[in-house]
Symmetry: D3
Subunit: 135 residues, 6 copies
C-alpha cells in the first residue's frame, strides 16, 4: 500500500458546551496543522499516488472555507461541538466530495483510503481515517 | 475510525543483558517521549474520542510510576530487558488497567484500539498497539 | 553564556484591526506554542541556570492568565492588535515581574537575558528578547 | 503488535516526465529523510523487535547505494519516474532482500510487516508498506 | 528586540568541486527548508515586525527563482560551490534587494537585522545573518 | 555571520544532589540530542564554514566518550551536578580542544563562535555558547 501526505494549516475561534471541556467552554481558538494522507494499493500511470499539486489546492481551498472563522457562527456546525476529532471528520468528508467532483484528476479513482490529522498543539492531535467510495 | 493522541515524557536509567546490545549493556539512561493514541469508530455524546483532561492525567500518573527511576531496580521488570518496545507494552498494559478501573470516564468503553509510542531519540522510536478489551 | 529553554502552550481567540491583516480582521484564534529562554554568564551554586521546576510553574501560570480567552475582551490589550510579536512582549514583561517578585528563587538575580518565542503554526513564529533588570 | 522505527537520509538529483509534474520536469533534487518501521506480533528472546544496530547498518548501506546520485542515470530506474512514493517502494524491496539474506540476524524471520516513509520536505512525504515474506 | 520568522522550501540539483566534499562532488540534490527571520527594536504602527503576507510572497518568489533548478547551470553561481551556507547568503542578499525596492511595504525600513537559515536534512543546517542597510 | 549546525545524540545515567532537583536526586537518565553550531564571519576557500564531515566525526567521537555511561562514575565530573547546561559546557570545551589539535582541518582557525545545545526532552533544552580562541 502506497501513501502520500501533505501538510497545511488553518486558524479558528470556537467554544465548547459540556462540563467535560472545563475552561474550554469559553470562547478561545486554535491553530490546526492539518496532514492529509491518501492511500492506494498501486501507483497510477505517472508513478504517483495522486497529483500532489491538485491535492495541495484541494486541501488549501477546503481549509480556506474554515480559516479565520468563528466556528460557533457556522450554520454547518450548529448544535455540535467543533472538537479536533470532529473537525478532522468534517475535512475528511469535504475532501471526499471534492474527489467525487473530479478535483483530484482522472486517476484519483484509484485512491482507497484517506486520513486527516489535525494537530492542535505540540502535545495533542486527532485524526479521522476511513475508506474512500469506490467508483 | 477516530483517534486522539497526547504526548508526555519520562526519564530513566537502565542497562541491558545480551551481546546484541553492545555498549548499551552498561548502565546508561534515556528520555522517552511518549505518544498515547486512542481510537474508536464513533464519537461519544460530547463529540470526543475521550476526555482529554482525564487521559492526560492517566498518562502522566502512569509515567510518574517510572519517572526518575533505575529500571534495573524495579521488581516488576526483574529478569527482563527494559527495551523501548517492551516499555511501550508495559505502559499499554497499565493504561488498559486504568481504563478498566474507570479512570477515563463513563464513555471510555467505546474505545476499541490503542497505541503507545516511545521516542528514545530523534532517530529511533518504538510502539506497541492492540485492541482494547470490550466491556 | 548559558541558557535553558522550556516549552508550554496556550489557545486564544482574537481579531485584528487594519487592512494589513486581510481576512485575519475577522474573529479567529490560535494555538501559541511558547518557548521561554533564560540566559546567564555563570551557573548558580547548584550548577543550573534556573530552577526549572519553578520556571515551568511561572511559565504555566503566566500562560493560564491568557489561556482559553478571547483577547479582544481583555482590558489589558484594549486598542492594541494582539499580534504574535506583541504577545511575546506581553509574556516577557509578565515574567520579568514574576522574577522581580522572587518567584524564580534566590539565584534568579544572576539571569541577564531572556527570550520569549511564540509559534503560531509550523511555518510562522515570533519572539521578543531583551536584557533583564539587574538587582 | 510491536514496531521499531529508525531514521536516516539521502540526497539525490532527478527529473520527471509528464505534464502532471509541471516545473519538476526539470533536473532538480531532493533530500529524503527516511523512516524504516518494522513490525512483529511478539518480541524475540532479547525482548526486541530487531537488532537496531544491524537495522541501522542495513538502512544506511541501502541508502548509500542511492546517496549523491542523479537517479536519471541509474539503469535500475530507466523509463520510470523516481517519485517519492516509487522510491519508498524501491527501498522497501531492497530491505526485504537484505532480510532474506540474513543481514538483520537470526530472529528477523519473526518480522511480519514493514513501512518505508520518505519525507521530501516539512510539508510532503510518502510511504510504502506491506507484509514481509514469511520464512 | 522583536523578530518574526516564516518558513518555506525549495528543491535543487548541484555538485561540488573540491576533495573536502567527497562523494558530494557528484551531481546530487537537496531539499532546503528555509527560515527567514526579520528583527527590529520597535514594532510598527500596526503592532507588527513586518507585513507577514508580503514577507511570505517575497520569500516564495525569491525561492521560486531557484526552485527546480540545477544550480550548476546558473550563471549567477559560476565558479562557486553552492553550499548550504553560501546559498543562505545568496537568499539573504536577494531579500535585502527586495526590501530596498519597497516590496515589504512602507514600514520595512524599521527592520534592522535578518537571518536566513537553510535546513538540508534533519541533522544539518546553515544560516547567514547580518544587519540590514538603514534608510 | 555564517553558521553551520549538525545534530547527534547520546544517552546517559546520572543523579543530582540538592533539594532543588526534587525526585531527580534519584538515579535516572536522559537522551541528549546535541546541536553543534559553529560560526565565522567569512567562508573558507571551499565556500564552507567548516568541513562538515570532520565536524560530524569530532562531534560523534566527543559524544562517544560520554555515551552509555553513568556520569556519577566519571572522575571528570566528581562533585559536580551533571546538569544539561553543565554538560553543554563540557562538550563545548572538549570540542574547543579538538579544534586546537587541528581535528577540524586547516581552515578551522577562521571559526569565531560556537554554541552547543542539549535537548533533554520535547519541552526542555539548554545551551552554552562562547567565542573561540583566535589563533
Amino acid at each position: 500500500m502506497y501513501a502520500v501526505n501533505i501538510r497545511d494549516h488553518f486558524m479558528i475561534a470556537h467554544s465548547f458546551r459540556g462540563a467535560v471541556f472545563g475552561p474550554a467552554q469559553k470562547l478561545h481558538g486554535a491553530t490546526y496543522i492539518v496532514d492529509l494522507e491518501m492511500r492506494r494499493p498501486e501507483l497510477d500511470p505517472d508513478n504517483i499516488v495522486v497529483d500532489i499539486g491538485l491535492a495541495g489546492e484541494v486541501l488549501r481551498s477546503t481549509l480556506q472555507e474554515l480559516n479565520f472563522r468563528n466556528l460557533d457562527d457556522e450554520a454547518a456546525f450548529a448544535g455540535r461541538n467543533t472538537t479536533t476529532e470532529f473537525m478532522a471528520r468534517v475535512i475528511f468528508d469535504r475532501i471526499v466530495a471534492r474527489i467525487a467532483k473530479g478535483d483530484l484528476g482522472p486517476h484519483a479513482g484509484g485512491l482507497t483510503q484517506m486520513k486527516v490529522t489535525l494537530h492542535e498543539s505540540h502535545v495533542a492531535w486527532a485524526d479521522f481515517e476511513g475508506s474512500l467510495p469506490q467508483p
